[in-house]
Each structure stands twice: as structure tokens, then as C-alpha cells.
Amino acid sequence: MSQNKWKITLKIHRQKEAEAPHFDEFALDVDPDEYVLDAVERVWAFMDRTVCFRHACHHSTCGACGMRVNGVEKLTCITYIRDVTQDGGTLKVEPLRNFPVISDLAVDMGSLYSRLDTVGARSVLPVTQAEAEKKPADWPAGDEQYIRLADCIECGLCISACPSAATSSDYLGPAVLAGAQANGLKRNPELLGLVDTEDGLWRCHSAFECTAVCPSFVDPARRIMDLRKQVFVERFSRVFRRS
């Protein structure tokens, strides 16, 4: 951590019940190697106790602290202040888009969580199925016995960044489609009816913003495209099975 302190202005989106949304500014001394979430938490601790924000694990395993920092979706607990502003600069912190605001920076992610349950997205899975970039042959024998938490931390950044999600409240969204893909059509044939729909796989218009903002290696865009391939193969083979 560096010795020099930065002076920054934190602009926090404020919205209480029946109040028009606006920004409050806070002047802060920060260490550039602190995280954005630390700065927000200090505003709450020392400057304004009414600021509401969601946070829990502070090390990118829970997905609670997603916000927009200077217009870009970030997991604030692992976003260094150094990477998003400079000495004398401004940090504009807003709630995620496409979710109802509970208060200030906190949003209600109920829609995401219930859709994840609908497609049966697994929260834990065998370690050999979790790590997408390794081929099955790369795993030492016996490693399939290990269970690990899935990569997706359900933070909602992808839903917030997706331009298609901004205009369609029924769109399942990147995280949900990625959860369906991780499950696989082979293992769960009933997923076909859920994802092969207008508001499922085919609402994606290839902006790749989900993958660009994902803090947790999920690569939802790749998974959406892979699921499209699975659906295509399934539909194609059904034609031949019928005839």
C-alpha cells in the first residue's frame, strides 16, 4: 500500500422513499490501494449514517456489492480506487441498472435469484465441471470428488450492463442463461422450453457487455452462444428423430 493519500470526491446516488433521485457529494482522503467499497463504508461510518448499500464478504465470493462506478458495473469490494479515478478526481457511485432500487445504492435482486432457481443454476458443483478452461483430461483422477462453489456469484453486474436487459423486463438475462448452460441441456432436457424462447437465448444481441463486466470468470456471452449451439443441435436432431 502506498504512503500517499489522495483527495477524492465521492458522488453517491441517493434515493429514499418518495424522494427524487439525486447525488450527494463527500470529500474523502483515501489510499489509492483501498477498494471503492471501503470508501463507501467510511462515508456511512463517519459522514452520513443514512447511506444504504449492500455488502457482505468484501472479497468477491458473495456478490452483494455490485454498483456502477463512473458508469461502469463493478464489484466494489475488489475494485481499487487507483484503477477508477486519480488524485483530486471524482468517483460517481450508482446502483445497478435494471433492478428496483431499495434505497440509495441497494437494489432488489429478487428477479435474478428466482430466475436462477427456475433454471436450476447450481450453487455448488464438482470441481471438474466448474472450471471451464480445463479439459477433462487435465484433471488428475479422483479430482471429480471435490465439490466447489460455482463461479457465478449472482452479483447482477451482467444484467445491469446488458443493453437488451434494459428494454425487456422478461429477458432471462446473461447470468441466468449462463446458469442454464452450466447445467447443460443433456442433463436437463426441460431447460429447452425455458431458454429456446424470445425472452431467453434469442434476446441476446451480442454486445458482450456481460462478459466485459463479469468479475468472476463466468464469461456469460460464451455460455449463451454455447447454449445456442446446444439448442440448435437438439432441434436439428429432433427433426430427424421425428422423420
Partner: protein, 388 residues
């Protein structure tokens, strides 16, 4: 007769587990929490599902609690747990000497353990320090803190509990006879003050328990003791790796998603609401973590953070007991309708809730047995999906 109304202050591990337990026993439950679920100590725990090995020598009461609860949690909430076990590894003579007491302690606390040769251990975990002298395989695990809490909260909600998050306790309502009859709250979503009335108030605020108890003129001997943790960006191991010695700084490395987390330190503070992550503690985690897993030196820091343990102050720091305690303030300060649960650790959340609910039922003269050992928890996502 209408259901008794229990108000629980705090939606950390103890709060949500107590809400689940009381809801199952037929209570009408309201949980108030000034932030969102798990925003304090609970959310920031390192996530070790203790098997008790860490306490088997010095604190066998805690160790037995841990192994019992570890076994139960694996059954009732597998959705939040990486159940891959753990290793205690010896790197020097002092560790080896501790090994004798460790074997005895684990046996006394019925913690299953298997001694491994260094070669066997390295076959299981190729990234641990190859200079290890011996290793013990024990049933540790890792959990996701938020999802563990949400699982209990979801089940409580399914059984009718209400969760009022972003709602801060501002003061207690007392009648003339020294009885707590409710709590004055501030709804932070609307900045409106309200009063909530209940038959019993449960203070489940962990490290903050002293602040709430003080509102009733009571006090709790809780000593907030923060520790620093560092997450690195590679998953070097599948199991929790512990140093085979008495608990000390940076002697645990555990896997979580694509990370490993090194923990922890132990210090004292004045201001509970913001504890800085001290640079020298972060450096120490690298130093000590690299003794267990040398490759950590090649990894990048993903997160530096701290959590404040609520220790019951019989000793200080590492020597304090890690068990929990439920205080009936009728007995401690002649305040009726008010109990505090604090101490303990994440692994024992269900047991803490059971104890608290037992005390609450006894105080209200109810005969309702605990059911949380048998009930598998619903999907944690239901916490958000179910109406409040």
C-alpha cells in the same frame, strides 16, 4: 392463543439461525437489521467450516460443538458448502511436538483424523509446502458466508418470519417494571422512526451486542476482536490447510471459488463501525500463508478485508474461549423480556440458535422442541423470491 412475537436484532449468522429456529417452533418472528443480511462480521468470515481440530487441544468444548455442527450443516445446507476436508500440516519440530496433543485432543472430541505421510499429503494437495514433516486429514470444509446465512433466512421467511433490513434499532421500549416490550426503530429506506412491540427481544448483534444491551442498562462481556484476511486469485488447494500448532496469525489457508483466503490476525479496537485493514497485517498474511503454500507468492491479491469476532472476554485474543453464551438479562440485570446471544463462530450458528430459542421458550413457558437438526434448508435464493 396468538403466536408469541419475537423480535431479533441483527441478521448475521446468529440472527438468521435464531429466526429459523423460532419460526419452526411456532413464533411470529421479526428480524431487524441496520444493513442488509450479513453486512457485519458474518459476511466477512473467512468461511472455514471448522471440524474442531483447531480447538481440540485448548478449547475442547468449542471443538465438540464444531464437529457436531459441521456434520449437521453438511446435511442441511449443502448448497453453501465446499465439503472437501482439510489438512493440518507440520513444518517444524514445534509443530511435530504439538501433533501429539493434537491426536489426543481430536480423539477426546471424536474428530475423525487420519495421519498421512508427506508423500500422501502432496499427492492430495500438490501445492502445499513440500518440506512438510507430517499431515493429518480432518473433515474441515469451506462455506460461502452470505449463502449460508441466506439459507437460514429463506427458511425462516418460508415459515412466516419477516425481515426488515436497512432498519436500525435506536432504543428499547421498557415498561415501568424493568421489562423490555419493544424496540424503537429507524427505517433507513424511508428515514422514518417507528416502534415495534414484541413478547421477547433477542439481541443477536455479535460484536455489537454490548451496544444493544446498554440500551436496556445491561452489559455483556463481549470483546470485539478483529482479524485481517487476504484473498488471492488462484485456487491452489481443494482442502482447508491448517498449520499444526496452537492457533496463531495466518495459520489457515482455504479455498473458495477460484481463490484461496489466508487468515487471520487478532487485535483490539475502539470504533466497531469501521476497522481499517492494516498494511502490516496484510504483509504478515503473505508471509505466513506462503509457509503453508509457497505458490501464494506468485498469486495476486484479490481482496484484503477484516472481520470483528465477538469474543466472550474470559481471556484476551487467542486465549479467549471460542464458545458462545446466551444471557437471560432477567438473571444478569433483572431486565425481563430480553436475551443476548453472542460469542461462538459461524460453524456453530445453528447450535447458538437452538440454545437461544430454548432460553426464549423457557422464559415464555412454552414447550416447543428444536427441529433445526432435521430440517434441510430450502434454496437460499428463496430469501429474495419469497414475499416479506
Amino acid at each position: 392463543m396468538s403466536k408469541p412475537h419475537a423480535i431479533i436484532v441483527g441478521a448475521g449468522f446468529t440472527g438468521v439461525a435464531t429466526a429459523h429456529d423460532l419460526a419452526l417452533r411456532g413464533f411470529d418472528v421479526t428480524v431487524i437489521e441496520r444493513g442488509d443480511i450479513c453486512n457485519g462480521t458474518s459476511g466477512r468470515t473467512h468461511g472455514l467450516l471448522h471440524c474442531g481440530g483447531r480447538y481440540a487441544v485448548k478449547d475442547q468444548e468449542s471443538a465438540i460443538e464444531c464437529i457436531d455442527e459441521n456434520t449437521l450443516l453438511r446435511k442441511i445446507v449443502p448448497q453453501a458448502i465446499e465439503p472437501n476436508g482439510g489438512l493440518f500440516i507440520a513444518l517444524d519440530d514445534s509443530d511435530l511436538a504439538y501433533g501429539e496433543a493434537f491426536i489426543d485432543g481430536c480423539e477426546a472430541c471424536h474428530i475423525p483424523l487420519e495421519q498421512l505421510t508427506p508423500q500422501q499429503a502432496l499427492r492430495l494437495e500438490p501445492n502445499i509446502n513440500p518440506r512438510l514433516l507430517t499431515a493429518f486429514l480432518i473433515p474441515d470444509g469451506t462455506f460461502d458466508p452470505l449463502r449460508l446465512a441466506l439459507s437460514f433466512a429463506a427458511n425462516a421467511k418460508k415459515n412466516g418470519a419477516r425481515f426488515r433490513t436497512y432498519t436500525e434499532a435506536k432504543g428499547l421500549i421498557m415498561d415501568g417494571t424493568g421489562r423490555v416490550t419493544g424496540v424503537r426503530i429507524l427505517d433507513r429506506q424511508s428515514n422514518k422512526a417507528e416502534e415495534l412491540r414484541g413478547d421477547i427481544l433477542v439481541n443477536a448483534t455479535g460484536a455489537w451486542a454490548g451496544e444493544i444491551a446498554e440500551m436496556a442498562g445491561a452489559d455483556v462481556p463481549v470483546k470485539p476482536t478483529p482479524g485481517v484476511m487476504v484473498a488471492y486469485d488462484q485456487r491452489f488447494v481443494q482442502r482447508a490447510i491448517n498449520r499444526l500448532n496452537k492457533p496463531g496469525d495466518g495459520d489457515i489457508v482455504l479455498p473458495q471459488r477460484r481463490m484461496v483466503v489466508v487468515g487471520t490476525t487478532s487485535f483490539e479496537i475502539d470504533d466497531l463501525d469501521y476497522v481499517p485493514v492494516l498494511d502490516d497485517h496484510v504483509d504478515l498474511m503473505l508471509e505466513r500463508g506462503a509457509e503453508l503454500i509457497p505458490a501464494i507468492r506468485n498469486a495476486r491479491i484479490r481482496g484484503k478485508y477484516m472481520a470483528t469476532r465477538p469474543l466472550i472476554s474470559s481471556g484476551s485474543g487467542r486465549s479467549a474461549a471460542r464458545t458462545f453464551k446466551c444471557y437471560d438479562h432477567k438473571e444478569t440485570h433483572n431486565v425481563e423480556g430480553f436475551v443476548t446471544i453472542t460469542g461462538g463462530k459461524a460453524t456453530t450458528l445453528r447450535a447458538m440458535a437452538e440454545k437461544t430459542a430454548d432460553v426464549v421458550c423457557e422464559k415464555l413457558g412454552l414447550n416447543a422442541p428444536c427441529q433445526t437438526k432435521e430440517v434441510p434448508l430450502v434454496s437460499y435464493r428463496q430469501y429474495y423470491a419469497l414475499p416479506n
